[in-house]
C-alpha cells in the first residue's frame, strides 16, 4: 500500500526508537486490536502521570511537552 497522505512526508521528523527509517506498515481496521489495548495508550495511567509530572515540574527547571492546558502553581 502506498502512503497516500503527503503528511507522511513528516516521517523524517519522527525519531524512531528501535526502528529504522520510515517502517510504516498499513494496518487494517481488524488488525488494530493490540493497539486498542489499554496498556498501549500513550499514557495508560493518567492520574498517576499527572502527579508525577507535577512533582518533576516542581523540582526540575524544564517542563511540559506532553500536552497543553493547565495552570501554574507556587511550587517553582
Amino acid at each position: 500500500m502506498i502512503i497516500r497522505n503527503p503528511l507522511m512526508m513528516c516521517c523524517p521528523l519522527l525519531i524512531l526508537p528501535a526502528l529504522t527509517g520510515c517502517a510504516i506498515q498499513p494496518v487494517a481496521a481488524w488488525e488494530r486490536g493490540n493497539l486498542a489495548r489499554p496498556e498501549m495508550a500513550l499514557e495508560p495511567y493518567p492520574l498517576e502521570a499527572g502527579f508525577r509530572q507535577h512533582a518533576f515540574f516542581s523540582k526540575e527547571s524544564v517542563s511540559g511537552g506532553y500536552g497543553i492546558g493547565g495552570g501554574g502553581c507556587g511550587c517553582n
Binding site: 506498515q25 493497539l35 489495548r37 493518567p46 498517576e48 502527579f51 509530572q53
Partner: protein, 425 residues
C-alpha cells in the same frame, strides 16, 4: 470484547492519541476520548523528600462523562497539602589549611527570612585566597520547616467529535494561599491517512497571580502561553509513535520570592531576580510496542528541552506493563533526567552581576536524576482496577550530562507512594 469495541476504526486512534493533549498534573486524561463507558479515577499520592524536608499529600479525581454521540466531558479535581522545609540559599564553606571549616557570616537575610541553624556569634570571615583559606563547597540554608499550604484545583475539558475531527476546549483554576492560576486550552485533532495518523494542534493560556506571604502589599502577575504541534502515527499492528513539538512562552513575574542568593562581598542574602520572560521548546517522542509473546507493552519516551535561560535538558523514560494472570499486572519503570544550569545561576555570588539576573535556586543548577518505580495493578472486577505504586527519585549533581556537577551540596531524593482506583460504570 472491550478490545473489539475500541478497535472500531476512528475510535482506536482517538483513544490512543487523546492523551497527547493532557498536560500531566493539570489537565489529565483525554485518553478516554469518546468513551463507551463512564469512568472515574480517584487516587491518593504521598510525596516525601529525604532529610525531613518537603511532604505533599494529594487527593486527585477525574470523572469522564459521555454526553451523547458527539460530546464528552472530563471533570478533574485535586487537593494538595504541602508542608516542610525547603532550601532558600547556599552559604559557601571556607576550608583552611589548619583543617577548620568556616561558613561566612550572614549579616542580613531578605524576604524569606530563613532561620540559619547556627547559634552564637559567627566567626569573622578569614581572608580568602591568601594561601591559608579558600572556598570549597557550600551548604544549604533552609526555610523554616513549619511552612504549610494547601492547593485546590479543578478544571473541565469538553471534547466535540465530528467525523475525523475532534475539537477540545478546557478551562480551570488553581488556588493556594499565595498563588492563583486561571487557565484554558483549545485543541484540534484530525485523523488522517486511513486513521493511521493523527495531527494535533493546541494552544493553552494560564494567567497567574503571586502574592508571596513574606511580603506585604505585593502582588505580581505572570502569563504562560503554550503551543503544541503533534503527530501520532501507527507504525504497525503493534507499534505506535507520537512526536510533539511544544513551545512555551512565559512572561511576567518569574522570580521565586522565597529564594535568596548569598553575596560574599557584603555577607548578605538578598532576593533572587530572574528574567521576566522565558521561551522553552520541547521535542517529545513516545514509542509504544506490544509484545505478542509475553503480552506485554513497552513504553519508551524521550524529551529534549531547551530554554532561552540557557538550560537544555534530556529526559528518558521507559516502563513495561507485564500481565501476571488473574487480573494482576506489574509495571517496572525507569527515568533519567539531566539538565544544564541556567545562565544566571551560581551557588553563591561574589557581588551582584551587572545584568541584574541572579539565582541560587538548586533547581536551576546543572544536575541529573535517576528514578525507578514499581507498580502493581489488579483488575478486581470487570469495572474496577486498583493500582499501588512506589517510586524513588535520586538527584545527584554528577549524574548530569552537561558538566555542571558542582551542586552536590544540594543533592537529595524523594519517594512517591500512590494508591488509586479506576472505575468504569
Amino acid at each position: 470484547m472491550a478490545v473489539t469495541d475500541h478497535g472500531l476504526p476512528g475510535r482506536t486512534l482517538t483513544a490512543l492519541t487523546g492523551a497527547a493533549l493532557a498536560l500531566p498534573g493539570l489537565v489529565p486524561d483525554s485518553q478516554a476520548a469518546t468513551p463507551t463507558e463512564r469512568q472515574w479515577d480517584v487516587g491518593y499520592f504521598y510525596y516525601e523528600e529525604g532529610d525531613d524536608r518537603m511532604r505533599v499529600e494529594s487527593l486527585k479525581q477525574s470523572l469522564v462523562l459521555p454526553l451523547g454521540d458527539q460530546l464528552d466531558l472530563t471533570l478533574n479535581g485535586v487537593r494538595d497539602s504541602i508542608s516542610g522545609a525547603s532550601p532558600i540559599y547556599n552559604l559557601p564553606e571556607i576550608r583552611c589549611r589548619d583543617g577548620s571549616v568556616i561558613t561566612p557570616p550572614v549579616i542580613s537575610v531578605s524576604g524569606a527570612s530563613g532561620t540559619t541553624a547556627a547559634g552564637g556569634p559567627r566567626p569573622e570571615r578569614p581572608a580568602l585566597n591568601a594561601g591559608d583559606c579558600r572556598i570549597d563547597g557550600a551548604r544549604q540554608v533552609m526555610l523554616d520547616g513549619t511552612f504549610q499550604d494547601v492547593r485546590t484545583a479543578g478544571d473541565f475539558k469538553l471534547n466535540y467529535y465530528r467525523g475525523e475531527t475532534t475539537l477540545g476546549f478546557g478551562a480551570g483554576l488553581s488556588r493556594e494561599k499565595d498563588y492563583d492560576s486561571n487557565f484554558m486550552s483549545l485543541d484540534w485533532r484530525q485523523e488522517l491517512n486511513d486513521k493511521l495518523s493523527t495531527l494535533t494542534l493546541g494552544y493553552g493560556l494560564a494567567s497567574d497571580t503571586f502574592t508571596p506571604l513574606n511580603k506585604t502589599n505585593f502582588s505580581e502577575d505572570k502569563e504562560s502561553h503554550q503551543f503544541l504541534l503533534g503527530l501520532t502515527q501507527v507504525l504497525g499492528k503493534n507499534d505506535l509513535l507520537q512526536t510533539n513539538l511544544t513551545f512555551g512562552y512565559d512572561q511576567g513575574y518569574l522570580t521565586d520570592p522565597y529564594k535568596n542568593v548569598y553575596l560574599l562581598s557584603t555577607n548578605a542574602a538578598v532576593e533572587e531576580v530572574r528574567p521576566d520572560a522565558r521561551r522553552q521548546w520541547n521535542l517529545l517522542t513516545r514509542y509504544v510496542h506490544y509484545f505478542d509473546g509475553p503480552k506485554a507493552a513497552l513504553h519508551l519516551d524521550y524529551r529534549y528541552s531547551m530554554s532561552d535561560w540557557g538550560i537544555d535538558a534530556h529526559t528518558l523514560e521507559t516502563f513495561w506493563i507485564q500481565p501476571l494472570g488473574q487480573g494482576w499486572q506489574l509495571v517496572p519503570r525507569l527515568r533519567y533526567y539531566s539538565q544544564g544550569e541556567a545562565d544566571f545561576y551560581r551557588s553563591y555570588f561574589e557581588s551582584l552581576p551587572a545584568n541584574g539576573h541572579y539565582s541560587s535556586d538548586y533547581r536551576l543548577a546543572g544536575f541529573g536524576a535517576i528514578s525507578g518505580g514499581l507498580k502493581l495493578t489488579k483488575q478486581v472486577t470487570d469495572q474496577a482496577r486498583l493500582d499501588l505504586g512506589v517510586e524513588f527519585y535520586d538527584r545527584q549533581s554528577d549524574y548530569g550530562l552537561q558538566g555542571h556537577a558542582d551542586s552536590d551540596f544540594a543533592d537529595y531524593g524523594f519517594t512517591i507512594y500512590s494508591l488509586s482506583l479506576n472505575l468504569k460504570f
